[in-house]
């Protein structure tokens, strides 16, 4: 069974036709509404394009973007075909590129990497491929665009495919993933499977319809591939169960902090005590023995509650409420899992951190950290290395991570965290760092391993 909701990300440099490609996908799959089309036609005309629809204008949402003809921030697009629904995280390639690409990639099942057929595999396309691989996106499609400007040359396409494949071969080593073991490979710890498609977003070749001008290419058009590609869901089922407690439901305990209320709904269930959260991965069954981390308490699942009734079994990514057989003191931020496949509990860890703000990250720095539903304070012990995206090598120890840098960082936290390596679990292997004075989100962390 393929999933009926596919989240994918696109990124590319200025002028490589990303907005045009998305516009083309929406337009050719008849997902552009008449009033949006009128708007694009009017705006195209104002910008001097006579009778030509500038499809890029479909995706530029903010005034400054339309005025400057650039894309500033990640935008989310929605479209559907009879086969699947799609959410596109459309990431600009130039300004704050790492920040935007990492954001878009963090929730994606598939990445479309654009390569300009004339300019070849640029640093920008490499950076996007690297970030997609680092963020664990299970599938990658390399769309070699502007084929119309290289005379639809198969030789040029083959040359670029070889060049990209050569680069991509190094991605597994630096992101800690094994090479994929087959076309449908998507299990934990594997590098993405890559497909290559020659396209012309401007003319629509191989975007929705297969191209007649590139008969030498016998693969699917981009949309066909997006409709058919098999991707493990964001929360795969064949992984250990992970249930971070978000919220404790106790109707009898006056949980509604700060809200004046009359005794209302639910007052009858005074003895009810349920642990609410979203199952991050795996499955849980009624009667399962579970461990609560980091406290280490053991009990069994008495019931799996949802608004629509009790369940015998729950699967990721369902939101649900667990009742447990024993009364343990469990609060928000704790992790419920099976004792024989427990997460790692530690206060020291190593992680690849993507830095997203001007003020650099340095050893000794102190940040608020959010990991699953747990909030903590983290102190940076040292920066082990910095990743060179061009060569895919890790440099020697670094003094700081600057804006858009990615490097291996060692952290200590004030409370223990229950986590997995990011390569085996995106939900329990990720965290964000927050500047304690500005409250800005300044870093994205992918946990490599416990430290020490």
């Amino acid at each position: 069974m393929t999933l009926d909701l596919l989240r994918f990300t696109t990124a590319g440099a200025v002028d490589d036709g990303k907005s045009t490609l998305i516009g083309r996908l929406l337009f050719d799959s008849k997902q552009v509404f008449e009033d949006q089309l009128e708007h694009v036609a009017a705006a195209s005309e104002r910008r001097g394009g006579e009778g030509v629809l500038d499809l890029a204008l479909l995706t530029d949402g903010l005034r400054a973007e339309r005025e400057q003809g650039i894309t500033i921030d990640v935008a989310y697009r929605y479209f559907a075909t009879p086969v699947r629904r799609f959410i596109i995280a459309d990431c600009p390639g130039h300004r704050q590129y790492t920040r935007n690409m990492v954001t878009g990639a963090s929730t994606a099942d598939l990445a479309v990497v654009l390569v300009d057929a004339r300019r070849g595999v640029t640093e920008q396309s490499k950076r996007h491929a690297f970030i997609s691989a680092l963020l664990g996106i299970p599938r990658m499609v390399v769309a070699i665009n502007k084929m119309d400007l290289v005379e639809h040359s198969q030789a040029r396409f083959d040359e670029l495919v070889a060049e990209f494949a050569d680069f991509a071969a190094g991605l597994g080593a630096i992101t800690g993933r094994r090479a994929p073991d087959g076309v449908g490979a998507d299990s934990a710890g594997q590098a993405a499977a890559i497909s290559y498609i020659p396209i012309s977003a401007l003319n629509g070749d191989n975007v929705v319809e297969r191209s007649r001008t590139m008969a030498w290419y016998d693969g699917p058009a981009l949309l066909e591939l997006l409709e058919q590609v098999e991707v493990a869901y964001d929360h795969p089922f064949d992984r250990p169960a992970r249930f971070p407690v978000q919220w404790v439901i106790r109707p009898g305990a006056g949980i509604s902090v700060g809200v004046d209320r009359d005794a209302g709904a639910g007052a009858a269930d005074a003895d009810y005590r349920g642990y609410a959260g979203q199952l991050a991965s795996g499955a849980l069954r009624r009667g399962d023995e579970v461990a609560v981390l980091p406290s280490g308490g053991r009990t069994r699942i008495a019931a799996i509650d949802t608004y629509d009734g009790e369940l015998d079994e729950a699967l990721a990514p369902m939101s649900l409420t667990l009742r447990l057989e024993d009364e343990l003191d469990i609060s928000r931020g704790e992790l419920i899992c099976r004792p024989d496949e427990a997460a790692t509990v530690a206060r020291e860890l190593a992680a690849d951190v993507c830095w997203m703000t001007d003020k650099p990250l340095r050893a000794g720095g102190r940040y608020a950290l959010k990991h699953t539903s747990r909030s903590a304070t983290a102190i940076v012990d040292r920066i082990e290395d910095l990743v060179d995206v061009h060569t895919l090598r890790r440099s020697q120890p670094a003094d700081e991570l600057a804006l858009n840098d990615i490097g291996r960082v060692h952290l200590r936290t004030n409370v223990p965290l229950a986590f997995d390596a990011y390569t085996s679990n995106r939900r329990t292997g990720s965290f964000i760092l927050i500047d304690e004075s500005s409250n800005e989100t300044v870093g994205a962390g992918l946990i490599a391993a416990p430290d020490g």
């Binding site: 705006a43 921030d73 869901y233 939900r427 990720s430």
Partner: protein, 305 residues
Amino acid sequence: MAVATRPQLSHLRALESEAIHVMREVAAEFEKPVLLFSGGKDSIVLLRLAEKAFRPAPFPFPLMHVDTGHNFPEVIEFRDRRVAELGERLIVASVQESIDSGRVVEETGPRASRNQLQTVTLLDALAEHGFDAAFGGARRDEERARAKERVFSFRDDFGQWDPKNQRPELWNLYNGRIRKGENVRVFPISNWTELDVWEYIDSEGLEVPSIYFSHVRDVFRRDGMLYAWREGTELIDGEEVFSETVRYRTVGDMSCTGGVLSQASTLEEVVVEIAATRITERGETRADDRVSEAAMEDRKKAGYF
């Protein structure tokens, strides 16, 4: 573990689960959240999601409606009935009171609307009650500025949205840290489309106000839209009132929300109609977005929903 077939959640259940997760994060991380309930379809979905997130307990926040005084009576009647069914508490913030107290000045003329005035009433009410987070039913597919907005949308102490300087939002980790006086607008159904909303209402068997279904109403045509005529409406030369069979795709202020010609009188028929439509809901029905190319962006920057 080899599994022959992998059971998966339908896209609607996946969106539902994501939204419930967002609501619980807000309940846990903010001191005093509020849920903005207008009686419209999107906030009707929010109420069901809140039930799924927090029952059997009461909601850990009250509901609030910014009432322009020009709402459809059918919607106000529905609003009060739904709130009573839920046994939850509703706060009504009144634009009329903002006008009476001199906080805002009523627009005049036949095109007068209270749409802009709502922003002041909303910001005043958030400050008065000390709400630090407000759930809204906005979706990213609605409008091009909203396509860029975060699920947790930070507002400074003037209530302003800065679209060029938003916090990055990664995985399902939301940064809810704010200073006193600042607030966050939270949009749990950001990733839903209009069709998703209707399919969800249908699958959950939720009641919606009667104006969402086709009915005969006195209307007049202005700028290509069919507006409801009511006592006191000022007509411009050449406009006349006539009867038409319409329904509403969005529920806003009567003064700026147009009806659409429709025979859809059941939820199933509405779903079929929405699946086939070639015009966006705001493009078809909302005069407030027609002011300029960036009308929504400008209103949001000023603190609008």
